[in-house]
């Protein structure tokens, strides 16, 4: 009965998590959260560690992860099947109908340059260098509405809101030192301290724009303001900058210095149930080199067309010159080079697994992310099977990015000291890309030495 209660509770948590996940947008390698026998699972919960005594990730062959998502619409939302045949018609309106007020287009890459881990008694030490890139374009439904259907239909008499529209880009290299310890047979804890060297950044700190179209006169009222920080971008457009500027130089010079922590813990509630939690990328980067901050002051300008009275006294050229000057004044921007600080995309995982059999366990994971006051969440249920000591696989179902659901899968197999792993948070993105709002793939090789087949934590309960 106790197991049944636990299962019901687990089911409720899963349902609630999936419901919340309807507003989420990301894929964040959570398939790895279930592949605990890889060294890389340590990155998603520092309390996890590989079973081998020593693990090494070889430069070039180490973990590479790429993911992209668009929460607004997928490819099939752009087309309609023609009734008389099966040909496809482009239908931007259909895509529009799928969008929410605010939508996210994201890209993330995670390239491990080098990693090393060693177990010493109950302790596990790790060191890794990783190149990370997060980019997102946040767009509103009205932005696409005005582009697709213009301002003369549903936006007539309304304010087309571009509030929050912006680009965020974060490129940096992290140098991580990890420590993990078995506190007792039930509890493992881990921490990773990361020193960061920022390469480039675009930070849309504030973005509030709107265009209101008067229903009767079609007068256009522009409002809004914006503050955008950039670092490492300016030399690309500044004519005074040197031609040999390479942003990658910032990968190791720590001019844009940052600091971050990962924390994790796992706890065995019973012999079959284990819960875990991790908090990742809690930190910041202070951007100091090649900075440019663009600030657009409050705009509140109504365009009523050309002012004809001016034609009575001025030449046509003078009238249009004045209009041009006015628009320049209204939409003028100020540029400064002040230092600024950005937070990382802090994430945290909550997970639980239940061992149905010795080789098969099911799990539920709640992935949470907070970026610029936007809370994003994904809910995942997974099944992980350990077919052989050298072969394990996991499959999961997740709901995120406003998609109906995604199926993720991952496999790790080992031949001798070489462990190969591949995982995707959404394998449908490769099979049916037209129906997917995201694609993701991670893969790599590890070298494992010293009892790589030893069951993880198995011995400690009881």
């Amino acid at each position: 009965m106790k197991n049944l209660d636990l299962n019901i509770n687990f089911l409720w948590i899963t349902i609630i998590a999936l419901f919340i996940g309807g507003n989420a947008i990301a894929q964040k390698n959570y398939t790895f959260y279930a592949l605990e026998n890889t060294a890389q699972s340590h990155y998603f919960n520092p309390a996890f560690k590989p079973s081998a005594k020593v693990s090494v990730s070889i430069p070039g062959l180490s973990m590479h992860s790429f993911g992209a998502s668009n929460s607004g619409f997928n490819l099939s939302n752009l087309f309609n099947e023609r009734p008389q045949d099966d040909s496809l018609q482009i239908d931007p309106q259909k895509a529009l109908s799928k969008m929410k007020d605010k939508n996210f287009l994201t890209f993330e890459s995670y390239n491990e340059i080098f990693a090393f881990g060693i177990k010493v008694n109950k302790n596990y030490f790790s060191f890794g260098i990783t190149n990370r890139l997060n980019a997102s374009f946040i767009y509103t439904k009205d932005l696409f509405t005005i582009a697709i259907e213009g301002n003369g239909k549903s936006l007539l008499g309304e304010r087309a809101s571009f509030d929050g529209t912006g680009i965020n880009l974060n490129s940096y290299v992290e140098y991580a030192l990890g420590f993990n310890r078995e506190i007792n047979d039930k509890l493992d804890v881990g921490v990773r301290m990361k020193i960061l060297s920022g390469i480039a950044n675009v930070n849309t700190r504030k973005s509030e724009f709107g265009i209101h179209t008067n229903k009767t006169t079609f007068d256009l009222t522009f409002d809004g303001s914006a503050i955008i920080n950039t670092s490492g971008i300016k030399p690309f457009y500044d004519t005074l900058a040197t031609d040999d500027y390479m942003p990658s130089d910032n990968a190791y010079n720590f001019k844009n210095f940052g600091l971050a922590f990962d924390l994790g813990a796992s706890y065995k509630l019973t012999e079959k149930i284990k819960v875990s939690a991790s908090l990742l990328d809690l930190g910041f980067i202070t951007w100091k080199t090649e900075n440019a901050t663009f600030e657009i002051d409050e705009i509140n300008y109504r365009f009523e067309g050309v002012y004809l009275n001016q034609f009575l006294t001025d030449s046509t050229e003078a009238v249009f010159q004045q209009l041009q000057d006015t628009l320049k004044d209204v939409f003028s921007q100020e540029e400064s080079s002040e230092n600024y600080r950005t937070g990382l995309a802090t994430r945290f995982y909550l997970g639980g697994t239940y061992e149905l059999t010795e080789k098969f366990k099911v799990g539920a994971t709640l992935y949470n992310e907070i970026i610029k006051s936007n809370y994003r969440v994904a809910a995942i249920v997974s099944g992980t099977i350990q077919l052989k000591n050298w072969l394990s696989a996991t499959i999961n179902y997740s709901q995120y990015a406003r998609s109906f659901g995604s199926i993720g899968a991952g496999v790790s197999l080992r031949g001798g000291p070489i462990q190969f792993f591949v995982a995707s948070d959404n394998i449908l993105g490769f099979i049916a890309p037209q129906n997917s709002k995201n694609v993701h793939l991670s893969f790599g090789l590890n070298l494992l030495f010293g009892k790589p087949d030893k069951p993880i934590n198995k011995k400690r309960y009881g």
Binding site: G150, N151, T217, G305, Y307, K359, G383, N435
Partner: protein
């Protein structure tokens, strides 16, 4: 447990294939699509006041505002006559010759003459100044050339004096000396600049246009004989005579105005319609710096519609405009002559056929009462100017006031991707005037291709007025001008656009009188909504 694991594995794989068994997406099936944006933008806006609407045709138009009431009137001005002094007085060149024989010279024949003898003679000059009777003239320019020649073989001294032609109060006098050198005839000449000379042409208030010269000749003998047949010729040439000022009597001259007109620009583009003003005025202004009176005799006053030739004559008007003389040189006399509804019988209605011109015919005569004292005077700067102002107080009514204009149009852009175009006019009208409009697109032979409305449509609704004809409520009107795709495609063949508007004042057909005031405005906004259809 092993069994359970296998079942779960099979279930997972089955679910996976169920998920992935949906229809495949084929990029090669993408056939077509279209982008159908609809954009609405403001094109233009304006706030027209009285000046902008009524005085927009020409900067010389004048809108007069009554400072007490704000009531406005349109004033159209015309310079109709300018008479300069040079036209009235022109002193012709005067040439005279005088022959003095031995008797005139008191020269007694002698075989040898070593003595000296003097004679005095006079010469009268009559100047031709047209119909003018010159009494006194101050010259601005002029030359007097004197040539003396003789066959006397002696030394001659010829002194010529003009007692009534003075400079600085001193009579002008010149001497020509001939010194015998062995040859005859002998001659010499002299020249006098008449600048600033003052001439009295009355010979002591007895006549006009005349001047005398006194000639004193002395013969100093050289030992040569005097035969008694010798003589002396004196030639006088007054030339280049121009006056600075003059007095006398300058005649009863017809200064002649055959006729002139004032363009009433308010009606410049009007073709038809009835227009009635309550209190129009026509005023002639004269400024006279001549020292004589002038009379203007009006024979004909009318308005003319040049489109249809309609003329409406003013009747019952006073015909004589007497312009008094200036008091003195350098002064001006100002006078004006008013025609209004009280001294005419139909002035308020002669503009009823949307005239384009106010035309008048008049005769202008100087010294209309003849040669009566005081004497006339004139200066080189004397001038008489007559100008007219047609003042149209904007109080009245109008209807069927048709304005028409044709403008060139050439548009060769590809508009096939436009499904429809709508121009939206937003008019917030503070004038008590309604405007119905029609826009017709014409081909190069001026044949209509299509029109924006089936019938002329009201685009400006009249503001409402109180019992005094003053606006007390503005009226807004929205007019959509829709062009269909077919009409848009026809635009490439359009070469001209015929703009036609018919205006009428509020309830003008029923005799409602309205007034225009300086605080009336019309707010105009033009928007454009375009529906595109772009095949992808």
């Amino acid at each position: 447990m092993q069994h359970l694991t296998s079942k779960l594995l099979i279930a997972v794989i089955t679910c996976f294939f169920l998920f992935t068994s949906c229809k495949k997406f084929g990029f090669d099936k993408i056939a077509e699509g279209s982008w159908n944006p609809n954009f609405a933008v403001p094109v233009a806006h304006a706030n027209f006041g009285v000046y902008d609407i009524l005085a927009s045709q020409d900067s010389s138009d004048l809108v007069v505002i009554d400072p007490n009431t704000g009531a406005i009137a349109l004033v159209y001005k015309g310079e109709i006559l300018t008479i300069d002094a040079g036209v009235l007085l022109n002193i012709q060149d005067e040439n005279e010759s005088l022959n003095l024989d031995a008797t005139d010279l008191n020269a007694i024949p002698a075989p040898i003459f070593n003595g000296s003898v003097t004679s005095n003679n006079n010469q009268n000059f009559v100047f031709d100044a047209g119909t003018s009777e010159l009494h006194q003239v101050t010259f601005k320019s002029g030359n007097l050339d004197i040539n003396v020649s003789t066959d006397l073989a002696h030394d001659i001294t010829c002194i010529i004096t003009f007692p009534e032609l003075k400079k600085n109060g001193i009579p002008i006098s010149t001497t020509v000396s001939l010194n015998y050198s062995g040859n005859v005839p002998q001659s010499d000449n002299a020249s006098v600049n008449l600048l600033e000379a003052i001439g009295d042409f009355t010979l002591g208030n007895t006549t006009f246009n005349q001047l005398d010269a006194e000639i004193s000749i002395t013969i100093n003998g050289t030992g040569q004989p005097i035969t008694g047949t010798e003589d002396i010729d004196i030639e006088f040439a007054f030339s280049n005579l121009d006056f600075k000022n003059a007095n006398g009597y300058f005649g009863q001259n017809n200064l002649g105005i055959s006729g002139d007109s004032v363009l009433l620009r308010l009606f410049q583009n009007a073709n038809n319609g009835y227009f009635e003003l309550i209190d129009p005025k026509i005023t002639f202004f004269a400024e006279n710096t001549f020292g004589f009176p002038i009379r203007m005799n009006f024979s004909n006053l009318k308005t003319v519609n040049v489109n249809n030739g309609n003329e409406i004559f003013l009747s019952g008007f006073p015909s004589v405009f007497d312009i008094p003389s200036a008091i003195s040189i350098g002064q001006s006399s100002f006078s004006q002559f008013d025609l209004n509804t009280t001294n005419t019988t139909n002035l308020s209605t002669i503009v009823s056929s949307v005239p384009k011109f106010f035309v008048y015919t008049a005769n202008v005569v100087s010294n209309p009462d003849g040669n009566i004292p005081p004497l006339n005077f004139i200066s080189e700067k004397s001038q008489m100017k007559i100008r007219t102002e047609v003042e149209l107080p904007m109080e009245g009514l109008a209807y069927g006031f048709e304005l028409r204009d044709t403008v060139d149009f050439n548009f060769n852009e590809d508009l096939s991707q436009l499904e429809s175009v709508m121009f939206r006019l937003n008019i917030d009208n503070g004038f008590p005037v309604e405007l119905k409009s029609q826009i017709t697109f014409l081909d190069d032979n001026y044949n209509p291709i299509f029109s924006t409305f089936n019938t002329p449509e009201s685009v400006v609704s009249p503001a409402l007025v109180d019992n005094n004809g003053r606006v007390n409520q503005r009226i807004k009107k929205i007019t959509d001008i829709n062009l269909t795709q077919d009409q848009i495609l026809l635009l490439s063949g359009v070469k001209y656009i015929l703009l036609n508007a018919v205006a009428q004042t509020l309830d003008g057909t029923n005799g409602q009188v309205i007034k225009l005031f300086d605080d009336y405005t019309l707010d105009f906004k033009l928007g454009l909504q375009v529906q595109g259809k772009i095949n992808l």
